[in-house]
Symmetry: C2
Subunit: 371 residues, 2 copies
Amino acid sequence: MSYSERREKVYAWMETEGINLVMLQDNEDRRDSAVRWLSGHPADAVLFLSSDRKALLVPWDINMAQLYASCDMLIPFTAYSLDPVNALLDATYNLKTPAGGKIEISSVTSYPDFLRYVEKISDYDIICRKDGIKPEIDRLRMIKDDDEIRVYRALSVFTNQVMDDVEKNVREGVLRTEVDVAIFIEYTVRQQGCDGTGFPTLAAGPGRSFGIHAFPTYTSAPFAGPGLSILDFGLVMHGYTTDVTMTFAREPLSARQEKNLGLVIKAYDLALSKVKDGVLCRTIAQAVDMFFKKSRRSMPHGLGHGIGLQPHEAPFLRSRADNEWHLAPGMIFTIEPGLYDPVEGGCRFENDVLLTENGPEVLTESRIVRM
Amino acid sequence: MSYSERREKVYAWMETEGINLVMLQDNEDRRDSAVRWLSGHPADAVLFLSSDRKALLVPWDINMAQLYASCDMLIPFTAYSLDPVNALLDATYNLKTPAGGKIEISSVTSYPDFLRYVEKISDYDIICRKDGIKPEIDRLRMIKDDDEIRVYRALSVFTNQVMDDVEKNVREGVLRTEVDVAIFIEYTVRQQGCDGTGFPTLAAGPGRSFGIHAFPTYTSAPFAGPGLSILDFGLVMHGYTTDVTMTFAREPLSARQEKNLGLVIKAYDLALSKVKDGVLCRTIAQAVDMFFKKSRRSMPHGLGHGIGLQPHEAPFLRSRADNEWHLAPGMIFTIEPGLYDPVEGGCRFENDVLLTENGPEVLTESRIVRM
């Protein structure tokens, strides 16, 4: 991956904004995959980017960083007793940040932590704003580069193969329970050289498919018995995840179950027909909300979301009035309409879509499996 | 679980502090298991606790909440377009918070979000402080109640059984790769009625055990070949997780590998010998750091941590000067010394310990497996 090219884009933005130093942190309490996207380091670390185009990584696990990270400098976080304020103080020294300069910290920094930075780093102007480095990096990450698109093409082939295998094994009665299905996926993907699954696989049989995100994610309950079962999973390679949902519909189905399945498929087609360069994501999501509303249904979640190093990232296909994302070539996102009923169970249909210069290309081949 | 008793403790604290309304949020960006601990709801939600002893839950998935939550009022989060500020505004109305009253929001609220609360909820005094509701709940959660200790006793039996089964199957050559071991655990626990694993199982063969947290967490690489392999996992029941680490040491071992194994076992014994009511956690961790230092080794992580609804929670057994936790009966925590070498690999030995009125009771039976 072209980490230095990505950093170059951030440096250019820093120049425009007059920012001398940017600090990003990925840790257990608060993951920030921007650190990996900019440095290659896949685990807990603080990343400093300096306006003179130097990147300093402060990883918790220095052995790991020596294998994975691609930065100008490495200092173990343990040298600062894992205190990011200490790390920042030393970074201003190592990166020669001019006194009085502007240091931007992540917009997710808590209010009490922000006060501590301001108190301890008093020689600098500490900036923490909603519309700063975070949305800028989100914007950059939305448009996948050639390396990323190559990963997604390969990953989609694996994902489609796994869906075929799951369907075959469920039909043949080899996979009978939620745990059977989830474990089959977990095992298969690692055998095929993927890094794993992108989020806990949701395998919900007819008794549990009413949940948007089934809880627990899978159990020893039967899967794909009469009614509606949901399987939602993603495969990971180089940190990037796919995200697909299949619904298994086994007869006998109630009229309401049939109706919901039909509505979900129509909603998917409606959404896909509206995917093109420049479209406001909100309008697609609102069209689907309106479509469901006409049938007196409502979808309790967004229509879709970007995928990448995070299973949910920009752009978001949501109907909220404050959603200002527009589609553009290079974006990879899900379309996943779903309906959930405490009695009838739930159904969701989700594929991953790459928007190319020539329109949408559906990368994955999810399906409603009729049994 | 006794959710109303737990809330009563928080209400009493609110009274002392003069707080009229507390708001806690659990969502994908920032998990807060305090919501589950106080309401029973295991998924995304906002929880409001009012000084007149009313609990209002605003869950994303209302169907799920109707099954799991135990609160006085339920309103779906979708009614507020998933905007916590809107939910808070309405909560002040529904819970009749007196104008000018004090509303405490979580200390992890970001600085930009804090500014938005202050702007939008101008009739109230919005409080966001490090030493407020969060550490108070952390303190309450540290001491496990009888229900929780009962869960941990049962869960430890399962965990020990799984460790026995893994050791047997590794010795017999049935489990040969990292993925074999991790998947065996995942499958077994759900068959036995556990909810799953508490965190991604770390299974690292000799080539990857140098990492504190192996990355990826497990692969198709060989496990338990010559040298040091690490297996770190936890089982979950009712949301509570155990956390154990076994090291598999297969001959031939280098002198340095033997030395590190011996040091880790001695460090564990040293730590356990210091566990008693009232001890400052920092002093135990510092004693272990000092012990390693004498042999010119250093441990890049804390000595241990509380376990519960989160795999890492208070008290923390760390040597940092600002660590002020003291041990007390009812606490359940790990002791997990480890050493990591980029060439020789890593070893870690971790058990879960309950401190009773009569001293430490080691709940789990982890081990260094010699092969």
